[in-house]
């Protein structure tokens, strides 16, 4: 042992932080306090009782943990280290989710009282800044989609799709076709939320399957549309990363039977400034600000959704909308055809401001650069991936992909019995997240990679090297894969109980109730 230091091996020798933390209730010590509450002033205390009506007064205080402040902090900091986070990861394995850099400057910008300490019902004269940013973001997204009007009220992509479905429904009700048009057409490689929200709105769902090109033949659409069709709800490029070049024709087909067409642009990352809802003739579309527009994913929300519509549908947008009047920004709530509220107030402001900042740092040229480099990165991965033995990119052979590719490990599986889930668990040992794509697995043993613009070539190579290595291990040493993860916070987790109502434990209290031996043990200890 002495200088110089040998070269590092090809693969990172990773271990995730492991704190073996108890569940927070186990850290409770009677009498400890995490934070004290503003006290009732002596004068108020003298004259005012705090008793509640005896019928409703709580008799037993809730059994929350009692912990000193540093203990609470420490527990959650440790848990945070046990969480990978896009900031620490080469997060290209979560295809369809557009994991990209959420710039820290945008987080810094939002952490100010001038944003977090605004009440939605305060004098609009004192929230002109917030309203201005919402309005500007609406304007920008109108241009990015090519459509005419935008609402930022929803807090996720699916909720924005929901709002779009609700507007479709309202539109047909407004023209007296609400009862007739009860079908919505989607494709199996469109995000599940298109089907699910439409179903929740009361529609019957017709799902088309792809041919060898990766998308349904246009003839399939012709077979299913009719006067009962309310709308097409489609992602394009679909989850395969394949762009359906017939999209305009398809939209026209729907229009020809009086139906609408709604475009799921949750992920517009590969086509920013390249092609839009407008060019293909869509009536509605939505964006996820938490994907394409970089707001952080926040462990699964809050996100922020944008619903964009043509002028024809503008009056159905959720209320209020923010409009500019002279130099002032006002809330317009007087909109009788509106579908009303889909979410509280005006949307997830911190995310709207973040997205606005992100866009304003890039401009039109920058957005296009985002798209181009995302697509470049994706095709670079594709070129490499299909050279890995056992991996394929189903459909449309030799065609480029847009922003992502749904790969298949089926060949590897057939040869070795190693599944995509197992590969995923093994990838964790190298500090990389890997997701096996949405059910149902139309593509067998799927893996969807979406590199976005945020990752450097070296990082893409790191990911590829790990996959190459695991593909080789599947042949040479499958046991190490089957017993993975080895270098993670926890080890292989059982899962039978998760689907067994008698045995599952969704909360600590349910766990103690269902497994009294644990409570007994705990009581014995203390």
């Amino acid at each position: 042992m002495a200088l110089p230091i040998a070269p590092k091996p090809l693969l990172r020798r990773f271990h995730q932080a492991r704190w073996d933390e108890p569940v927070i209730f186990e850290l409770s010590v009677p009498g400890e306090r995490g934070v004290l509450v503003s006290e009732i002033e002596v004068e108020i205390g003298k004259s005012i009782s705090t008793e509640l009506h005896p019928v409703i007064a709580r008799k037993v205080a809730p059994a929350l943990p009692q912990m000193g402040q540093m203990k609470v902090l420490k527990h959650y900091l440790r848990l945070s280290q046990e969480n990978l986070g896009a900031d620490l990861n080469v997060d290209i394995g979560q295809g369809t989710c557009t994991m990209k850099y959420s710039p820290k400057v945008n987080d810094l910008i939002i952490r100010r009282a001038e944003l977090f300490d605004l009440h939605p019902l305060q004098d609009p004269d004192k929230s002109q800044g917030a309203l201005e940013i919402i309005w500007r973001t609406q304007e920008i997204l109108a241009e990015v989609s090519g459509l005419d009007a935008v609402s930022l009220q929803t807090s996720s992509g699916s909720a924005a799709i929901w709002a779009n479905v609700a507007m479709i429904r309202a539109y047909f009700q407004s023209i007296g076709e609400g009862d007739i048009r009860d079908e919505i057409v989607t494709t199996i490689f469109s995000h599940p939320s298109n089907a699910a929200t439409a179903k929740a709105a009361g529609y019957k769902i017709i799902t088309l399957h792809p041919d060898e090109n990766g998308y349904p033949n246009i003839e399939e659409y012709k077979k299913v549309i009719s006067h009962r069709t309310a709308a097409l709800m489609i992602t394009n490029p679909e989850d395969t990363g394949i762009f359906n070049p017939h999209i305009k024709e398809i939209v026209e087909l729907f229009h020809s039977v009086g139906a609408l067409a709604s475009y799921d642009q949750a992920n517009a990352n590969g086509i920013l400034g390249i092609t839009r809802a407008k060019e293909a003739g869509f009536d509605l579309c939505h964006f996820n600000l938490h994907k394409t527009f970089s707001t952080p994913h926040a462990c699964g929300g809050p996100g922020a959704g944008a619903s964009c519509v043509t002028a024809k549908l503008e009056k159905f947008l959720p209320s209020p909308i923010i409009v500019k009047q002279g130099e002032r920004f006002i809330l317009d709530d007087d909109r009788p055809s509106s579908i009303g509220k889909v979410a509280p107030f005006y949307g997830v402001l911190p995310n709207i401001v973040r997205a606005y900042s992100w866009i304003m740092n890039l401009g039109a040229k920058g957005l296009r650069e985002v798209a181009e480099v995302a697509v470049l990165n994706n095709n670079y991965l594709l070129k490499n991936m299909i050279q890995i033995k056992g991996a394929t990119a189903p459909y449309a052979p030799n065609r480029p992909r847009v922003e992502q590719v749904r790969y298949s490990w089926n060949e590897l599986f057939e040869k070795t019995g190693i599944t995509t889930e197992e590969i995923g668990l093994r990838a964790l040992d190298f500090g990389l997240h890997y997701w096996t794509s949405h059910h149902p697995f139309i593509v067998p043993q799927p893996l969807t990679l979406e590199p976005t613009e945020a990752y450097s070539r070296e990082e893409l190579d790191e990911y590829l090297n790990v996959l190459r290595h695991i593909a080789k291990e599947a042949v040479d040493n499958p046991e190490i894969i089957r017993t993975a993860p080895h270098n993670q916070t926890v080890h292989q987790t059982a899962h039978e109980d998760f689907d067994n109502p008698e045995r599952w434990a969704i909360t600590w209290r349910a766990y103690l109730r269902k497994y009294p031996e644990v409570s007994k043990r705990k009581r014995a200890k203390s």
Binding site: V72, I140, P192, G273, A298, L349
Partner: protein, 458 residues
């Protein structure tokens, strides 16, 4: 010296021309255009998007955006008594510290291995919420309390197979708008007016029939009134095999008996009060709680994180309970849908509850009650204003200004001139005034002075 035009954009490492070229060469194409060959010419945007000029460097960007934000005035710089859906409660610093950790802020959909922390934190959130409501199952938060309400109704429809909801409390109109629109294809809503701020039992009985999926009560209701009749309504509901759905705000549950202990089958609400800033109304999350009964659990659309053993003794593992319910698994055959929701706010609420503990939740309830009652009492002494009995009010109460001759909008306008927000107008002469632990006696005394003055003002 430096040629500034050749810089890669800081967020796009491979935007450096040399790297691009090398990658294109490796792939074996000439230009990025090649990757767009599937997009027909007639679908292509002509020229550049028409967007405002960007601020390419961080320094200028910050100046621009912060410049706009500084046109706002935060509540902390005025006298503010606004509620009606978004509440100004205290947020301990540790909450923000935890949710601003890169690991939590930027994570998304990792497995229960590399995202063990997220799973555990949300399991703990579920578990602490469960203690508040005394029920064994709480979801990973959905978007907001409005969605939680809407979904609770939809669940009742699926559970009972019935299609009518009796609305027995006065509901926040925004929430109602959402609930009605959301459920319009499947549920009919029948409104039964409150009497003296409490549900009308006789009215409920009158509308009860075999199509009644559930009775919907809120405590506190839109006007801040706590409901004393939940137990009674629960008995009525039970007799009819209808469900009792109760909306509440969890911040009251340190001092209020959980509706579950008075017979509620589904409890829903918003968690914004639990450690989440106002964010101009953009800081909401919804919870839904049910008993550990398959019939109910399987109708929840949200994710449910549960605990599990691992291959190592004493190690806590976590994962998705009953994943096959969800739209992720089943598309339209799943329960409503699931996706990005409000997980980080759930972590925030969990940290908040852990910091507060039982004592903190009791105390904050008491402080709010005391200050609300104090404010109601004081304002009630102003001639021209009428406040109904505040004994059952929590955090909000109604001020009726009819006798003063000034309507709510006029009063608000006068107050705003004095840098104060005195409440939200809910009818021509009614103001909904909100008092939280953030409003000290001094603030309330100032409100009193100000109201006395503006009521008299010419």
């Amino acid at each position: 010296m430096a040629d500034r035009s050749k810089s890669a954009h800081p967020y796009i490492p491979n935007s450096n021309p040399d790297v691009k070229k090398a990658m294109l060469d490796y792939i074996g194409v000439d230009s990025i255009e090649a990757f767009y060959s599937d997009i027909p010419k007639n679908l292509r945007v002509q020229g550049e998007l028409n967007l405002p000029d960007p601020f390419l460097n961080e320094q200028d960007l910050v100046r621009h955006v912060v410049g706009i934000l500084n046109k706002n005035t935060p509540q902390g710089e005025m006298l503010s008594f606004l509620g009606a859906g978004t509440y100004n409660h205290f947020v301990p610093a540790v909450v923000d510290e935890v949710i601003n950790r890169s690991e939590f802020l930027t994570a998304y959909a990792g497995d229960p291995y590399e995202d063990h922390g997220r799973f555990q934190a949300l399991f703990e959130y579920e578990s602490m919420m469960a203690e508040l409501v005394n029920m064994d199952v709480v979801n990973v938060p959905t978007y907001d309390g409005m969605q939680a309400a809407a979904t609770s109704m939809a669940m009742a429809e699926r559970i009972t197979g019935r299609n009518k909801i009796l609305v027995a409390s006065r509901i926040n109109p925004d929430k109602l708008s959402k609930v009605l629109n959301y459920n319009q294809m499947k549920l009919e809503f029948v409104f039964i007016n409150e009497i003296d701020g409490q549900p009308d039992l006789a009215g409920i009985e009158k509308h009860l029939d075999s199509s009644c999926a559930a009775i919907w009560v809120e405590t506190p209701n839109y006007l801040g009134t706590l409901c004393t009749k939940i137990q009674a309504i629960s008995e009525i509901a039970k007799r009819n095999d209808s469900l009792l759905i109760v909306g509440t705000d969890p911040i009251v549950l340190g001092i209020l008996e959980s509706p579950a202990d008075q017979g509620a089958d589904i409890i829903h609400g918003d968690i914004q009060s639990l450690g989440i800033h106002c964010w101009f109304g953009g800081g909401h999350g919804g919870f839904i709680a049910v008993h550990d009964d398959t019939k109910f659990v399987m109708e929840l659309p949200s994710r449910l994180f549960g605990m599990e053993s691992t291959s190592v003794e004493g190690e806590y593992g976590f994962g998705d309970v009953a994943y096959e319910r969800t739209s992720f698994a089943l598309r339209e055959e799943g329960k409503e849908w699931v996706g990005t929701a409000a997980a980080l706010w759930g972590i925030a609420a969990g940290v908040y509850l852990a910091l507060m503990g039982a004592d903190g939740m009791v105390e904050v309830g008491q402080t709010i009650i005391a200050r609300t009652r104090y404010a109601a009492k004081k304002l009630g002494t102003i001639s021209g204003l009428k406040i109904s009995d505040s004994a059952l009010q929590f955090r909000e109460f109604v001020v009726d200004s009819t006798e003063s001759g000034k309507n709510a909008k006029e009063l608000i306008a006068l107050a705003r001139k004095r840098n104060a927000e005195i409440g939200v107008p809910i009818s021509e002469y009614e103001l909904l005034v909100c008092v939280t632990e953030m409003n000290t006696q001094r603030d309330i005394d100032q409100l009193f002075d100000l109201m006395s003055e503006i009521v008299r003002a010419k």
